[in-house]
């Protein structure tokens, strides 16, 4: 243990802004480098006539600026632009993912609290929870959609359930680890105060688990978007990004940029979810900066 007092440098608003600007600049530089590598590979590939691992041409590697400009062109002659459609698809898929994220997060959290309090449940239930994640989501998704469909549940809600299926696991596992993370001394201290199980949960286990919970939520945020996109496929939902991907896949050889543009929108949606969790983490854990990843 350090025998000297360490004064934390006071963070000023100016320093925060400077750091934020630096980060944004780094992201832009990163994107620029990626763009450069993509175009360089295509340029070299075309010159050398590369056929391995794939033939480099207009179809396999469209120019990135063409992907982006595809967004600004109308989908049908005289109709709205592709971006207009993408926006609505993203809102639709985002809604499915958000419900799935909240549902899965709540289930995962509740499950972790339950498991943290019973060794028997941990022994008995954990294997099945792990097995649930080894089953391919593509095999589970149609069953969920069909099964819930027979109960009259709307297809988009079934998609949320699929997103929740991918979301609950990391939350349950990490939260459980966090709830069990307090060291024996911290627990003994609580025992010396004759603290109730509830007190130990609220004053010790839950606060100690928060950094773990947030790292799980960051994984789950993107997983829920993926779950929603994949879930739309067996549900034959046409209103979201998953449906759009299936569609554009069929016309890939004639209009590859539309699929790529949709991929970019999917990535942007996942990033938006991730960023939301990151901001929430900053707000909740700001008092313990060493815990913020």
């Amino acid at each position: 243990m350090a025998a000297i007092a360490i004064e934390q440098p006071r963070r000023t608003r100016g320093a925060d802004t400077a750091r934020g600007a630096k980060r944004v600049a780094l992201v832009i530089v990163g994107l620029g480098v990626f763009w450069g590598l993509w175009e360089a590979y295509r340029w070299i590939g075309e010159r050398l006539g590369l056929t391995w691992p794939f033939t480099v041409d207009e179809i396999t590697m469209p120019h990135i600026h063409e992907m982006l400009s595809a967004l600004t062109k109308p989908l049908q002659p005289g109709g709205p632009t592709l971006l207009h459609y993408e926006w609505h698809w993203a809102l639709f898929t985002g809604k499915e993912a958000l419900i799935g994220f909240l549902l899965g997060g709540a289930i995962g959290f509740a499950l972790a609290i339950l498991l943290a309090h019973s060794r028997i449940l941990r022994r008995g239930l954990l294997p099945y929870i792990v097995i649930s994640q080894t089953v391919p989501i593509l095999a589970v998704a149609p069953m969920v959609v069909l099964g819930l469909g027979t109960k009259g549940v709307e297809p988009w809600i079934a998609v949320s359930v699929i997103a929740a299926y991918l979301t609950f696991f990391p939350v349950a596992m990490n939260t459980l680890r966090g709830l069990l993370s307090p060291d024996p001394r911290s627990l003994e201290l609580m025992r010396s105060y004759a603290a109730s199980r509830n007190d130990v949960l609220w004053k010790l286990r839950l606060p100690a688990s928060l950094p773990f919970v947030f790292s799980a939520l960051k994984i789950s945020a993107t997983a829920s978007v993926i779950g929603a996109i994949i879930g739309e496929t067996p549900a034959s939902i046409q209103d979201g990004l998953g449906g759009a991907i299936v569609n554009f896949n069929q016309y890939y050889s004639t209009a590859p940029t539309r699929l790529w543009a949709t991929n970019i929108v999917c990535a942007a949606l996942g990033l938006a979810f991730f960023a939301a969790v990151l901001i929430a983490e900053r707000l909740v854990l700001r008092r313990a900066p060493e815990h913020v990843a």
Binding site: A3, I4, A5, R185, E188, L189, A208, R287
Partner: protein, 259 residues
Amino acid sequence: MNATQPAVSIKGLSKSFKAGVTALTGIDLDVRPREFISLIGPSGCGKSTLLRIIGGLIEPSEGSVEVNGKPAHRARLDHDYGIVFQEAVLYDWRTVSKNIALPLELLKWNRERRAARVRELLELVELEGFEDNHPWQLSGGMQQRVSIARALSFDPALLLMDEPFGALDEMTRERLNLELLRIWDASGSTIVFVTHSIPEAVFLSTRVVVMSARPGRIAGIVEVDLPQPRTGRTREEPRFFELVTQVRELLAAGGAEVT
């Protein structure tokens, strides 16, 4: 509680662990109210185990332990003691104030009462101005003072301390020794203090309980008749050295390797 009732009363206590290890055997000890008792002995003599049994955190195998006239288990449920460990065991996500107030929250004190008590304690352990700091912003010595304030927060009659200054450097330790005596005097509590430092035990205590190892038992008790209040000068008195020697000889007779 009447005045003659011991703060801690241990009768015929022994403790064996499942693996067949006998940690403690034949322990009899009465601690009078307002006493400062040190338990000293080689590592493995079960002094920390004894402290935990007094705290009702471990059950003895045989014998009885009473705190304020109640079984140790009952005394724990009644919040009759505060405990300080070798590590400060502060909760990282809580400020100094909130760490001190933790037991008070568990005791359902209201906010105003907690705040008033925390102010008193910050003054007692001389940490005014640090109330909004987090544990990782404090030195080891300051962390331990927070831990002592927390243990005293609900004004328990008994304070159990398990090598609280063992991880600190010598100078910090000597300063905190003096502070602890001041706190002991101000709070009017009884202290049972586990240490492996002979001078520390003699300097602080009214009685030093010397233990021997394997199995842990009481090798002897040294009455410390140094005048109160103890000061920095106490460590320079001839009587201090005589008592240190006495404890050292008891430890050696009990089979401890004393250097």
